[in-house]
């Protein structure tokens, strides 16, 4: 293999190698499988080849963005963390990943992006502090709208808003999911014995941000912290596979804060966004011109249509 694949992902903080769930699970899987990736930790999604994070640029210059696709690609390169799993264990992995996607992901989106206090004090402030200047003004808001839309589609409720009832429902499902994961893990080191697999990467990716970020509204976090085996599971992976990040966290107390549930695909809108700003400026100018234009059109028409109005005497003389 000549050049290694390049992985673009969000920067880390709070002792995590990346703040985004999807980036984190890809990083974890790559570590577990021992894939030699050239990792670019960035805080400007527009610098990613796909415009979104994570993104994997393969040495054939393909770009993959979905974590599942990236993992399949790595597997094809013989970096397979699931090599030792039996067929039944493979089936269990699939089932528990589905469980997390159905029950945990909506609650994570809610916690990080929809719950107002968490979003404003943690998520938005982290992203706007880490993004370069003009992006920091609007990209966090865009990402938030995108995540809210996603939650609405997942729940099939187009008018969904943050609220106690919704929070209760989502957290109930998420807590149940956390409990089920904890029961499945039991006292093992990893889900399937002593070596980590893709399921471990998924669980780590989803739970570590929830565990490590400083959430002002920490109901779900409290619950996770009370589940000992999962807490240890996350810290062990951090220590074993991301020792540098884990150490950084213990050395410095990072000032601000943040975390991402999953930053999805807001940046395919990159071009569109640029186009939109240009269009907006153009539109503003045009509408101003149009508004004043109406006035002038009116005057002109008056003048054109009403010559007799200006010389009525002459008209009368004719008659």
């Amino acid at each position: 293999m000549a050049t290694p694949d390049e992985l673009f992902c969000w920067e880390g903080d709070f002792g995590l190698p990346s703040v985004s769930t999807e980036c984190l699970l890809v990083l974890a899987y790559a570590q577990f499988a021992g894939a030699p990736l050239k990792v670019h930790k960035i805080s400007n999604p527009w610098r990613s080849p796909s415009g979104s994070l994570p993104a994997l640029r393969t040495n054939q210059n393909e770009t993959l963005t979905r974590p599942a696709d990236i993992i399949i690609h790595l597997r094809k390169q013989k970096f397979n963390a699931d090599y030792d799993l039996s067929a039944k264990e493979g089936a269990d992995s699939l089932a528990f990943i589905s469980l997390m996607e159905e029950k945990l992901v909506p609650a994570l989106i809610y916690t990080f992006w929809v719950e107002p206090k968490n979003y404003v004090e943690l998520t938005r402030s982290w992203y706007s502090e880490h993004m370069p200047f003009p992006l920091s003004l609007f990209l966090p808001g865009r990402m938030q709208r995108h995540q809210l839309d996603k939650l609405r589609l997942l729940r099939e409720d187009a008018s969904l808003e943050a609220g106690d009832e919704l929070e209760k429902e989502l957290y109930r499902d998420a807590m149940e999911c956390i409990n089920l994961l904890s029961q499945r893990l039991g006292s093992q080191k990893f889900f399937f014995g002593d070596s980590p697999s893709s399921l471990d990467a998924y669980v780590f990716g989803h739970l570590a941000p929830l565990l490590k970020s400083r959430l002002p509204n920490a109901k779900l976090q409290q619950h996770l912290k009370s589940v000992e085996n999962l807490t240890h599971f996350c810290s062990d992976i951090l220590l074993l596979y991301f020792p540098r990040d884990a150490r950084e966290n213990s050395n410095q107390k990072p000032s601000s804060a943040a975390e991402a549930g999953g930053d999805g695909d807001e940046v395919p809108y990159k071009r569109r966004k640029q186009l939109l700003s240009a269009l907006f400026a153009l539109g503003a100018m045009l509408s101003y011109a149009f508004l004043t234009g109406i006035v002038s059109i009116q005057h002109q028409q008056g003048a054109l249509l009403e010559p007799p109005h200006h010389n009525p005497e002459q008209d009368e003389e004719d008659g």
Binding site: A95, L99, E101, L153
Partner: protein, 263 residues
């Protein structure tokens, strides 16, 4: 009533007039709704709870969650299998009491596997495959309505489902990839089932009802292409599993149920 598998210890009386609502069976209901409805019916039969199935064109809008099916018991209305399982449990009817913690975790996980992959694949094939959408889904979905409302509602539904597919990352998938996902899911289910009669040995649970509902509906429903059913027919233990549940819970009741006509 047929075999009562689980005899609840502190069963509250289950009203005789409990009703399950679903869209019109012959002209309207789509594969995914039919599968979900059959899963709930199978679950209630496994619990030995009688329910009368009522078809209404506006079932989707009557449902509190907008999802099919829902049951009306006493003065309560509950939709979807998950909440219905909780509801019957609160009334003292449960199929999964005998499981240990790990088994219960696995059961829930496999149920979500079915929802996450099979149900999503059904929705994808219904609404994102242009041929199926044009020939089956849109005409059937909108059959109770008159022009032009039928077109409006059908396209509105299609648009919603496609947005959802984009949101969960299925937007860019091809039909072949979706069939591959279905195979993968069935492979997992087949592995989990192995040679047992039910997923957790001798007694059925809600997972069995859910898997039966989806697999049986897929096998017995004619779509534009038989590919989806073919993928399932590759797994012989799943096929005999479906047949077993059908024979145990559906066949002896009446000869004219919708299921027996496919046998």
């Amino acid at each position: 009533m047929n075999v009562c598998v689980f005899i609840p210890t502190a069963a509250e009386p289950w009203p005789e007039n409990a009703t399950l609502y679903q869209p019109l069976k012959e002209d309207q209901i789509l594969l995914s709704d039919c599968a979900s409805s059959l899963a709930v019916q199978a679950y209630l039969r496994m619990c030995g709870l009688p329910v009368q199935v009522v078809c209404r064109a506006n079932a989707e809008y009557m449902s509190p969650s907008g999802k099919i099916p829902f049951i009306h018991v006493g003065n309560q209305v509950v939709s979807e299998l998950g909440p219905i399982v909780q509801f019957t449990k609160a009334k003292g009817h449960s199929l999964s009491d005998g499981l240990d913690d790990v088994q219960r975790a696995e059961m829930k996980a496999y149920m979500e596997l079915v929802n996450n992959m099979l149900l999503t694949a059904e929705l994808f094939i219904q609404w994102c495959d242009d041929a199926t959408a044009a020939e089956i889904s849109r005409p059937r979905y909108s059959s109770p309505y008159s022009w032009p409302l039928n077109n409006i509602l059908a396209y509105q539904k299609q648009w919603e489902v496609r947005r959802k597919m984009n949101a969960i990352g299925w937007g860019g998938k091809t039909l072949e990839q979706v069939y591959e996902d279905v195979s993968q899911c069935c492979q997992a289910l087949s592995q989990r089932l192995g040679t047992q009669p039910y997923f957790f040995s001798k007694q059925p649970t809600e997972l069995d009802a859910l898997v039966f509902g989806h697999l049986f509906t897929i096998i017995t429903t004619r779509l534009t292409s038989g590919e989806l059913a073919e993928r399932i027919k590759g797994f012989s233990n799943l096929l005999s599993f479906c047949r077993r549940i059908e024979q145990t819970y559906f066949e002896d009741k009446t000869k004219n149920t919708k299921l027996s006509k496919f046998v």
